[in-house]
């Protein structure tokens, strides 16, 4: 039995089919364009925000620090640095990583401590045991004034801003 469809329904189906085609062409185009950017233009979907020195530091810390060490990441508190701290936290497992930052971070993280870098006490660092430092995007003069007395038994790795 032939299907009988009303004129109104026919118009609706036509409009609906048109919308589906628009979505199909647009969705496919948008998706393949983005995929093309990743595959042929080095666009990163989830940029890790790290420089090559960052991975060097991870390798250095793994080689030189005892697994019970606390690793201290010193940097500003932007979302970019949150991502870097998180990356350290992942790749340096089972080390404990703490983040010292002179400015507040966007989301309260338990291993973040807001620090006045000019008033860091040597005793506090010593209490944490053998520490390994990554100083990121902070100017050297600030650190020089900070009062941190780095000795040769600790590792200091500085990424210049």
């Amino acid at each position: 039995m032939p299907l009988v469809i009303s004129e109104l329904k026919k118009k609706r189906y036509m409009l609906y089919t048109l919308l589906l085609w628009v979505q199909l062409v647009f969705g496919m185009g948008m998706t393949l364009w983005r995929h093309g950017l990743v595959l042929f233009s080095d666009w990163e979907v989830y940029p890790p925000y790290v420089e090559p020195q960052f991975d060097e530091f991870i390798a250095l810390a793994k080689q030189t620090c005892a697994s019970t060490s606390v690793i201290i990441y010193v940097s500003p508190g932007s979302s970019e640095h949150t991502a870097r701290f998180a990356r350290l936290h992942y790749f340096l497992y089972p080390f404990s990583v703490v983040w010292w930052s002179p400015s507040p971070v966007l989301t309260p993280l338990d291993r973040w401590q807001q620090m006045d870098l000019t008033k860091i006490e040597e005793q506090k660092i010593q209490a944490m045991g053998s520490a390994c430092f990554l100083v990121d995007d902070l100017t050297t003069p600030v650190l020089n004034q900070s009062g941190i007395q780095f000795d040769l038994t600790r590792r200091l790795f500085v990424i210049e801003p």
Partner: protein, 472 residues
């Protein structure tokens, strides 16, 4: 080699899942083989995560190995049970001329799938893919299971110990089979979840439509810009969650429409397992529970005997009770803090009431975001308006509600966000909330337009015989 090992490592999970499927839902001839395979994957993953968690409470160092041993044993048993072959293997596959035509229609979907695989392979895992879910998997692999100390360790709060464990458990399973943590090889798991989502979607539609319309809607879902270009390659658990939610919603919809017991069992188990994937599923769980209760206690109260109502309530709530109680008791026992939201209270709601305006603005922004969704939500809204007289039936109303109510509920929760500023939290999470509902929205849209298929066929094959009348 690593790819092959990852794929092989999932075979026992599929077999155990298939055994669970036969226990829960038996053999149902109307279920497509695509549904069987993807449901086996979902149930198998849930089984591994659940057993791993339970054994970890006894001895976490042995938990992964014990889970592998139990799963392999059950998988072997299942293999003997079905040694005559899966249902698919028993079928005669004849390549007919028409199938070339079908292959041509499926070509965009196949091309897209390969493109997603290539991009996934070339991309880094996203922030949460590494820091939250990846870290948990790495820890479980290194420790042999889930040590209780991890969940209360203040040094590890960054990885959100309160987040559920299903996907990291499967990652840890794969790392154990591989013998190492491999951030590249693990991407296969997330690609598989993307393909499983599409396969389940296709299988569900195939019950109602021909190949042509099923593949068209599946391609539409597959090329949703945010899903294909950002979510599927991230290593986040949002695509797996969308997969579990699609199953839970589709089977509950079917139960409301047809009242087959197997559908209710499946909906109940998948609703609970979705909460094992991500906490956002709790609100879907509440919504599903509310739908079942309203249907049984109000809608059907006069038509069903009391015993039948109670049995159906038991069917829906028992799996959730068994699967979720240990996890929530554990979280409460160890007082694992919520890492994103403060406690819900009237005081907090009143204090942050001004956030509502921003929340509404961001919701509108999502619904109209071409870059993320194309015009998918506009199509959904149009169909909702067009079909509003037909939304009075419980099944249709439920399906529509599942595409809308949980998004609204979850968005309202941002009133209690502890992020500062809170809209950053929304920016990070809102598009993913929409992603979870996207397959449900396409499923809803597809089922509202069942007449489309007949019209299209008529248009393509017999355009001159078309006879419009105004009475329908």
């Amino acid at each position: 080699m690593a790819i092959l090992l990852v794929l092989l490592s999932l075979v026992p999970i599929l077999l155990v899942g298939n055994w669970l499927l036969s226990l829960l839902a038996g053999y149902e001839s109307s279920r497509t083989w695509q549904e069987d395979v993807t449901l086996s994957l979902a149930l198998g993953c849930g089984f591994v995560a659940y057993i791993l968690f339970l054994i970890s409470q006894i001895n976490h160092q042995l938990a992964l190995n014990a889970t592998i041993a139990i799963t392999l044993l059950l998988a072997l048993t299942r293999l003997f049970q079905i040694r005559e072959g899966f249902r698919l293997a028993g079928r005669t596959m004849v390549w007919e001329k028409e199938q070339w035509h079908n292959l041509l229609l499926a070509a965009p979907l196949i091309l897209l799938s390969f493109s997603v695989i290539a991009v996934s392979w070339a991309s880094d895992l996203g922030f949460d893919g590494l820091v939250t879910w990846g870290f948990k998997a790495k820890l479980a692999f290194s420790e042999g299971g889930w040590p209780s100390a991890y969940f209360v360790d203040p040094w590890r709060q960054l990885s959100h110990p309160d987040y559920p464990l299903l996907v990291p458990s499967i990652e840890a399973w794969i790392y154990t089979i591989l013998g190492r943590v491999d951030e590249q090889a693990i991407k296969i798991l997330f690609i598989l979840y993307y393909l499983a989502l599409l396969t389940l979607f296709y299988g569900l539609l195939k019950r109602r439509f021909t190949f042509h319309l099923s593949i068209l809607y599946t391609t539409l879902l597959a090329c949703t810009p945010y899903l294909a270009s950002l979510a599927a390659v991230s290593g986040y658990v949002d695509v797996p969650l969308a997969f579990f939610l699609l199953g839970a919603t589709a089977y509950l919809y079917r139960w409301l429409a047809q009242r087959e017991n197997a559908d209710l069992w499946l909906a109940a188990v998948l609703s609970a397992l979705a909460i094992w994937v991500k906490r956002e599923a709790i609100i879907y769980g509440f919504f599903n529970a509310a739908a079942v209760m309203v249907y049984l206690l109000i809608w059907q109260r006069s038509k069903l005997v009391k015993q039948e109502i109670l049995i159906n309530l038991f069917r829906f709530f028992l799996p959730g009770f068994i699967l979720l109680l240990p996890w929530f008791v554990f979280l409460a026992w160890y007082q694992v803090p919520n890492s994103d939201f403060e406690s819900i209270s009237v005081t907090a709601a009143w204090r942050n009431l001004d956030r509502l305006q921003i929340i509404i603005g961001k919701l509108i922004d999502q619904y109209t975001s071409l870059g993320r969704w194309g015009i998918a939500w506009i199509i959904w809204a149009s169909v909702s308006i067009w079909r509003r007289p037909f939304l009075a039936s419980p099944a249709q109303l439920y399906l529509w509600g599942s595409t809308f109510v949980p998004i609204m509920g979850l968005s309202a929760l941002f009133i209690f966000s502890i992020f500062e500023p809170f809209d950053l939290h929304m920016d990070l999470a809102l598009e993913r909330l929409f992603l979870h509902a996207m397959p449900l929205a396409w499923y809803f849209v597809a089922l509202q337009t069942t007449g489309l298929e007949g019209w299209l066929q008529q248009l393509l094959r017999q355009p001159r015989r078309y006879k419009p009348i105004d009475t329908i």
